[in-house]
């Protein structure tokens, strides 16, 4: 079953999973938009233009970081190579576009990102599945019976762990009906996702080691977790009445 999945979505086809995640995430987000007091057309605009901005911004950011390579071969800027891409740069452009639309349409910032939370949650699910298909984000060797054969060893199926964790987080935020104060929905998602990254980092073999073998990505997730806690407290103090 796993082999069949990996054959079907072997790189570069693993990117199809991310595109499917964007589509599903956008659909679910629009479905729940009204609960957060946001018009679904406004959310569609954010996702649509944000996605285009992510693609173009990621390529431009990569180009600016490797400007000499592109000066010597300018046509490479329109190359179909997905590897000519900077995810961080693309994400920054997505955020900028989202902020511009939120400001122009006079939307509530916190309600907007609350409404976008299903989109982000499904994207994390898609990312875990694309890692599984590509064999990236792989685990440390294990003798556990649920280990998967990957890169010449039996390893912790960290991609499956990540998928289960992200699916649980999505369900936890999707199914309860109670209305939370603006911002809490998204911040809870971000805190839980960071916590799951810290936990699963234990089983990952591909993370960057820093001082004394500490894994850099876990430290970053811890910082994000602390920021989420601080922001949750600030939001709870600022909003005295539930929306």
């Amino acid at each position: 079953m796993l082999e069949l999945f990996r054959d079907i979505f072997a790189p570069p086809r693993h990117l199809i999973l991310l595109v499917l995640a964007v589509w599903l995430g956008a659909t679910l987000t629009e479905k729940r938009a009204e609960r957060f007091g946001i018009d679904k057309d406004d959310l569609s605009l954010i996702i649509y233009y944000g996605f285009i901005g992510f693609i173009i911004g990621g390529r431009l950011s990569f180009m600016l970081q490797n400007i000499t390579a592109f000066i010597q071969s300018p046509f490479s800027i329109v190359s179909v190579n997905v590897d000519l891409f900077d995810v961080f740069g693309g994400s920054v452009v997505f955020i900028i576009i989202a902020l511009i639309i939120i400001q122009r349409r006079k939307l509530s910032f916190w309600s907007s990102i609350d409404a976008l939370t299903p989109f982000f949650a499904i994207l994390v699910n898609g990312l875990a599945l694309s890692h599984l298909a590509a064999g990236t984000a792989f685990g440390i060797p294990t003798s556990q019976p649920w280990g998967i054969d990957l890169w010449n060893a039996t390893r912790h199926p960290t991609q499956i762990y990540a998928f289960i964790a992200s699916l649980l987080i999505f369900c936890l935020l999707w199914f309860p009906k109670q209305t939370l104060r603006p911002g809490i929905h998204f911040l809870t998602f971000a805190a839980l996702t960071s916590a799951s990254q810290i936990f699963l980092g234990m089983f990952r073999a591909d993370l960057t080691l820093i001082l004394n073998g500490i894994k850099q990505e876990q430290v970053i997730s811890l910082i994000v977790l602390i920021i989420c806690f601080i922001l949750i407290e600030i939001r709870l103090k600022q909003t005295t009445t539930p929306q």
Binding site: D7, A10, P11, P12, M63, N66, A69, F70, Q72, S73, F75, S76, I77, S79, N81, D83, L84, G135, T136, F138, W151, N152, A153, A195, I198, F199, G201, M202, A205, D206, L209, N212, G213, I214, K215, Q218, V219, L222, L225, I226, F229, I232, E233, L236
Partner: protein
């Protein structure tokens, strides 16, 4: 939940996280071993050129190596050859080695040398006549390229193509560092 209860919850979560990060620290210094994936040592092979010259990957340690798996019938493989040749000429003096491994077991052996002549390729063309190297590199799609740094570690895998000149240049400069 009161603010005090929340602060206690946050503190416990942070303490548990810090402890978990400490437990997760990898001090073993064990390398990932051999596999065709970023962060692993590149699987070794010994292959011959059409002229009978032998190349062994492990003997190239200290050099930056680009392994390209290709076939004459594969359009993206053909499309990326001129850029590879251009950059090979540019970076060979800095220690770049390009090993273009032809999937001879799936190709037309008589077409390989004319192909190399047609594109003016001067880097070594190696013949995988048994499919053993393709299997070691878990080949799923052509072309597949593996960028290997001077320590013999794969730093990047590019599946599919054609690779643009800018992509090749950025990755080659990285493995030459």
């Amino acid at each position: 939940m009161s603010q005090t209860q929340r602060i206690i919850l946050y503190s416990l979560a942070i303490i548990a996280s810090v402890a978990w990060i400490g437990i997760s620290a990898d001090t073993s210094n064990i390398t990932n071993g051999f596999a065709p994936q970023e962060g692993f040592s590149a699987p070794d092979f010994t292959l011959k050129t059409p002229d009978g010259e032998t190349y062994t990957l492990s003997e190239l340690k200290g050099k930056a190596v680009l392994i390209n798996l290709w076939a004459t019938w594969c359009p993206p493989c053909r499309a990326e050859m001129p850029a590879m040749q251009k950059l090979y000429e540019e970076y060979e003096s800095q220690g770049l080695v390009i090993l273009a491994i032809n999937m001879t077991h799936q190709d037309y052996p008589l077409a390989i040398v004319p192909f190399a002549n047609e594109y003016g390729l001067t880097f070594p063309i190696l013949l995988d006549e048994t499919g053993k190297t393709a299997s070691a590199y878990q080949l799923r799609s052509l072309p597949s390229s593996y960028f290997i740094n001077r320590a013999g570690i794969i730093t990047e895998v590019v599946i599919g193509g054609p690779m643009s000149e800018a992509l090749l240049r950025t990755r080659i400069e990285k493995i030459l560092e």
